[in-house]
Amino acid sequence: MSLLQSPHWPFLIDVYFFLGGLAGGAFVIATVANLLDAARYRSVVRVGYYLALVALLPCPIILIVDLGVPARFMNMVLSFNPLSPMSMGAWALLGFSACAFFAALFTFLEDAGRARNLSGPKVIVGVIGGFFGFFLAAYPGVLIGATARPLWIEGHALGALFLAVGASTGAAAIALILLAVGRRARHEIAAVRAMTVLALLIQLLSVAIFLASVQMSGRPASVAALDGLTSGRFKMMFWVGAISVGSVLPLALGLVDLRRRSAALTALTSVLVLVGGFLVKYVIMAAGQA
């Protein structure tokens, strides 16, 4: 008999966790590419920074609409509570939004030929925004881990998992856009491909740590909730959707693609990563609140 209550966060919050993670991941990838070789990875940087801003745009709206009293959304940033990941997340969203805006603005000014050299400010905004981006991708996992919900309270790698999903989906989205706009620079796609594969590895490792830590906690309520995820009503969505088709299959395809370098294979892998990344977050949110 569990007497715990569920927050009943709606589907839109899962969408926010997905978009925020994707934006953070894309931003970090663009920043690393920009730092290593801005000229060579011009398209990755451009797509990454634009994508981060676009993916971020619906996020504040989703969060405000979800509140019981939307007019009081400002109360989140009138308070600073380091013990509350939701408070920290609101601040990170604010900081990241500013960085994503300026990174996209500087990129646009360069593209439009309005400014000759903005590489200095772009590096500064990119590095600061990179830290915020990591935070934005990871904090929802830490947030749900700091609740009394049986599935989440014993699963310690949720922040690590959400961050890795942000990186894999961010890389996959960049790859898809590069392919869609017909970029000829194949070395850029090759790098993003490698990034996707590495992020998928970290993602699967985090899932394994999450499952193991809940199982090993030995708390009956937590183990029962884990059973709901892995062998109960969420088992198909978890094992088939999130793990097999959404993580393991794209990992295998991505490894083949590292040698094959086929645009079609990269596109398929990227779509699977995006679907899988969403399902991982969705199924953990759904099973945790059930």
């Binding site: 009943h8 509570n81 970290i202």
Partner: protein, 259 residues
């Protein structure tokens, strides 16, 4: 901070009259609700946004000293934890601790994010769709600041709910456990009285006649925020791996493999 106030609910004295539940509803103007059919006299199944005091009716085989079925009654309420998960979780500062040690939600500040609902180890905090805010027992904040005890304690006809200074109530509760043990209630125990125990002790603590799980209470509830350090460190580890991964992915192809 003033001397900590507390409520001691001695379930061995409860007769299940639900005067506390009604008094709470009336004083706090909590309004009407659709009843729940639970199969017992208990109504509702659990705390709601309009039920802050709830008498639980539990039938437990073999819990009586002579081995008979025991009809256990427990008037449940927000525990006003010394380490409160809801208070730590609140991102707006709406949830605060009073100078008496009780935990309250400022209804004019709460913006209805519902994080506290997920962070309560006892499932106490509830969401009110009409106001769009989180609701729970206020320890009759208006009454205790005007020299009155909480409405539930005032209404209780058997002194099952006692209100007073925490240290005095704990001493009284310990004596009561000894008495009950002497009468053969071998499972008589205090829940949340120990301020060195879980959640720093509960400012609304209980005397139970069976093990906590019988009443639906967690044996050893954990403060949700205890996870923050480990989860954050693992997240930083993941960030480092992703960062190194990005360096590997982009450096390897930066030096002119150039296909």
């Amino acid at each position: 901070m003033a001397r900590t106030l507390a409520m001691f609910t001695d379930t061995s004295l409860c007769i299940g009259c639900r005067a506390c539940q009604v008094a709470c509803k009336q004083w706090n103007e909590l309004g009407l609700e659709q009843p729940d059919w639970t199969g017992t006299y208990q109504n509702h199944t659990h705390f709601t946004d309009k039920t802050f005091r709830l008498v639980r009716f539990i039938e437990e085989p073999g819990a009586k000293p002579n081995g008979d079925l025991a009809w256990l009654l427990m008037s449940d309420v927000c525990k006003h934890c010394a380490d409160a998960g809801c208070l730590n979780a609140c991102p707006t500062g709406a949830i605060y601790r009073t100078e008496h040690g009780t935990v309250n939600i400022n209804q004019d500040v709460c913006n209805g994010c519902r994080y506290c609902i997920s962070a309560c180890p006892f499932g106490v905090v509830s969401f009110n769709e009409t106001t769009g805010t989180a609701k729970k027992c206020t320890f009759c904040n208006d009454r205790i600041h005007n020299g009155l005890g909480p409405a539930c304690a005032k209404a209780c006809p058997t002194e099952s709910i006692q209100f007073g200074f925490r240290d005095e109530l704990v001493a009284r509760a310990n004596k009561r456990v000894e008495t009950l043990k002497g009468m053969g209630f071998k499972n008589a125990q205090l829940y949340g009285a120990d301020s060195g125990g879980f959640l720093g002790g509960l400012n609304a603590f209980f005397l139970l006649l069976a093990k906590p799980a019988t009443y639906g209470l967690p044996d050893n509830p954990k403060l949700p925020q205890k996870n923050l350090l480990a989860d954050s460190l693992l997240s930083i580890g993941s960030a480092l791996l992703v960062g190194i991964g990005a360096l590997v992915a982009f450096r390897g192809r930066g030096a002119g493999k150039g296909d």
